[in-house]
Amino acid sequence: MKELLRKREFTLLVIIAFVLVLIVIRVPAFLEMENVLRIVNDTSILIMVSLGQLAIIVTGGIDLSVGSIIAFSGMAASMLNQYHPDISVFIVLLVGIGVGTGLGMFNALIIAFGKVPPIIATLGTLSVFRGFTFVLSKGQWVTAHEMTEKYMNLPHGHFLGLTNLIWFGIIVSLLMYGFMRYTRTGREVYAIGGNKTAALFVGVSEKKIQFVVYTLMGILAGLAGVMWTARFAAAVNETAIGFELQTVAACVLGGVSIAGGSGTVVGVVLGALFLGIITNALPVVKLSPFYQMGLQGVVVLGAMVVNSLSAKREEKRLLERRLD
C-alpha cells in the first residue's frame, strides 16, 4: 500500500481528481460522458506522440522535431489524397506513416551514427522538415473540400461508440505498454538511460536503441500527422508548431525523468490527459485560449520542480535508513 501511495502515477491521479472536482463544482456538466469523450478524443494525438517522446526521453535524449514531422507527413498524406482521391485511404494512411518513419529514421541516423547530440540534431531538423513542408506544399493549404470524405473519416468515424481516433490512441497506448514492458528492446531503452556503462557490459547497443526510439517516434508522428490533418480537415504549413513542448510536458507531468532511465507509459498517458483537461477547462473557467501557452509552461515548470524536490526527498529518506 505504501509503495502504491509513493508511486508517481497515483499522485498524478489524485491531482487530476482534485482538479476535476474544482472544475465540476463550477460546471457540473464537465464530467458528462459526452464531454469526457471529447476530451479523450482531443488528447489522443498528444498521447500517441508523447509515448514516442517517452521512449526517447528515457534514453536521455529529446526530439524537438516532432511538430515538423507531423506537419510534413500530414501534408504529404493530404496532398496524396487531394491529387489522387481514388487511392484507398488506408494506403494514404500507410504513406503518411511511412513518410514520418523516413523522417524519424533521418533523425535516428544522425543521432545514432553521426553522434550529433539529440537536442542539436532535432533542433536542426525542426527547421529542415518544416522548410520542406513549405517546399512540398508550395505554400498552399489542403482544405476540407479538397479532401475526400473517407480521409476525414479516418479519425472521425465511430466504432463501438468511440471515435476511431480514440481507438488509435488506445491501440498505440497498449502497444507502447507492451513494447516498453514486455520486450527486450523496450527494457534496453531503460538500460541505456539508466547506466550507459552497465548497459554496455550486458551487451546493449546504444546505437541500436537510439535508432529504434527515434524511428519509432517517426512512425507515431507520421500517424499523428495523418490524424491531425484529417481531424481538422486542413493541412497547413504551420501544423503542430510548438507541439514538441506539449509532448515533453506530458512526459514531465507523467513523472518521466528528463535525465533518462525512468518513466512509464501509464504516467505519460495520465500526464497527457491532465494537459487535455486543463486545455478543455480554459473556456469553462472563462479564460481565453491565448492563455494556453503560458499556462502550459507554468504547469511543466511546476511539475519539474515537484519532480526534482521529490527526488531529493526520496534520496534523503533512503539515506536516513541506510546507517541506522
Binding site: G131, I258, M293
Partner: protein, 353 residues
C-alpha cells in the same frame, strides 16, 4: 629536474621531425580556417552571380538582418561553453518587447523604454538561472518550459493585437547609422559587444572558468570554482543581451506582436555551433563565432539577391547546424584512428630496432 629537461629535449626533436605537411594539414583542418575559406568561396560565387553583392552600402546595410541574432549569439557562447543551452532567448525578446510596448502605451519615453527592456530581459534570465543553477534542473527542459511562459505572457494579454506606437527617438537604435556614415548603429553595437565578449572569454579569469566548467563541472567544483554562481551569471547575461536585442528589433520594426523573433533561438545556437563551439561544452573561441555570423548573414543576403525563398533559407540554417556538428565528429574520429595507427606503427619499428 634533470629528467624534465631531458624529456623536453627528446620531444622537441620529435616535434621538429613532424613533417611540414602534417602541420599544414592541421592548420587547414582548423575550424576557423574552414569557415573563412567558405566565406571567400561564398563571396566569389555571389559576386559572379549578381553585381549587387559586392557593394559597400549593400554589404553594410544587410547587417540589419542579422545584427540582433548575432548579439544573441554572444552570451550564448558563455552558456554553451559551460555545457548548458538556452532555448528561451527568442521568447525573452518577445517578453521584453512586450513590456516596452506596454510602457510606451502608457506614455514612457525612450530612456524609460531602454531601462524597461533591459530589466525585463535580465529578470527573465535570472528566472532561468534560478531553476538551472540553483535548483540544478537540466537547462534544456527548463528553458523549453520558460520559453512558453515568457511568450505566453504577451500572448495572453495582447492576444492577436499589437503595440505599434513608440516614441520618436526610439527608432534610432534599430534603424539609425553612426553619425553620417553608412555604418548601422546595430552592427556597430554588435562589433563593440563582440570585442568585449571576446576579451572576457579569452583574457579573463571568468573566461577560464567557463572552459573549466564546460570540460568538467565536477572537477571545477573540486578546484574551488563557484560553478553555480557562474552558470547563474551566464543565464542572467543571456537575458540581458536578449533585452538588448529586443530593443533593437522592436525599434527596427516598430511594433510588438506575441510572435516577434520567432525562431531566433535556433539561429543564435546555429551561429555558436557553426562557429566551432562544442555543444558539449569546453571548446571553442570567439573568432569562429564572428566568422559564422558573416558566413550565414551573407549567405542569406546572397540568396535573397538571387530571389530564393525564405523557406530555402530555413532549411539551410537547420542543415548547417547539423553539418556543423557532424563534420568535427568525423574529423575527431579520423584523428583518433590515425593516432592509434601511428602508435601501432611506432610499436613495430621499436621492435625492429
Amino acid at each position: 629536474m634533470a629528467e624534465y629537461k631531458k624529456s623536453l629535449v627528446d620531444t622537441s626533436r620529435l616535434v621538429r621531425d613532424r613533417t611540414t605537411k602534417s602541420r599544414i594539414v592541421d592548420f587547414i583542418t582548423r575550424w576557423e580556417f574552414i569557415i573563412f575559406a567558405l566565406i571567400v568561396f561564398e563571396v566569389i560565387v555571389f559576386s559572379n552571380l549578381t553585381p549587387y553583392f559586392l557593394d559597400t552600402f549593400n554589404l553594410l546595410n544587410t547587417t540589419f538582418n542579422f545584427s540582433e541574432k548575432a548579439i544573441l549569439a554572444l552570451p550564448m557562447i558563455f552558456i554553451i561553453l559551460c555545457g548548458d543551452i538556452d532555448i528561451s532567448v527568442a521568447a525573452i525578446i518577445a517578453l521584453s518587447s512586450f513590456t516596452m510596448g506596454f510602457a510606451a502605451a502608457h506614455g514612457a519615453g525612450t530612456g524609460t523604454l531602454i531601462i524597461v527592456g533591459l530589466l525585463s530581459g535580465l529578470a527573465a534570465g535570472l528566472f532561468n538561472g534560478v531553476f538551472v543553477a540553483i535548483l540544478g534542473m537540466p537547462s534544456i527542459a527548463v528553458t523549453l518550459a520558460t520559453q512558453s511562459i515568457f511568450r505566453g505572457i504577451p500572448q495572453a494579454i495582447l492576444e492577436d493585437q499589437a503595440y505599434t506606437h513608440y516614441p520618436e527617438g526610439f527608432g534610432y537604435f534599430g534603424q539609425g547609422y553612426i553619425g553620417n556614415s553608412m555604418l548601422p548603429f546595430e552592427f556597430f553595437l554588435f562589433l563593440v559587444l563582440a570585442v568585449i565578449t571576446g576579451f572576457v572569454i579569452h583574457k579573463t579569469t571568468y573566461g577560464r572558468k567557463l572552459y573549466a566548467i564546460g570540460n568538467s563541472a565536477t572537477a571545477s567544483k573540486f578546484s574551488g570554482i563557484p560553478v553555480r554562481r557562474i552558470r547563474m551569471i551566464n543565464f542572467a547575461l543571456t537575458g540581458l543581451f536578449a533585452g538588448i536585442a529586443a530593443i533593437l528589433l522592436t525599434s527596427r520594426i516598430g511594433s510588438t506582436r506575441p510572435n516577434i523573433a520567432l525562431g531566433y533561438e535556433l539561429e543564435a545556437i546555429t551561429l555558436v555551433v557553426l562557429g566551432g563551439v562544442s555543444i558539449t561544452g569546453g571548446k571553442g573561441n570567439i573568432f569562429g563565432v564572428i566568422l559564422a555570423v558573416f558566413l550565414l548573414g551573407y549567405l542569406k543576403f546572397g540568396m535573397a539577391l538571387l530571389n530564393m525563398s525564405a523557406k530555402i533559407m530555413i532549411i539551410t540554417t537547420g542543415a548547417l547546424l547539423i553539418v556543423a556538428v557532424l563534420i568535427p565528429e568525423f574529423i575527431s574520429i579520423r584523428k583518433k584512428k590515425n593516432k592509434l595507427k601511428k602508435q601501432k606503427k611506432d610499436e613495430n619499428t621499436e621492435e625492429v630496432a
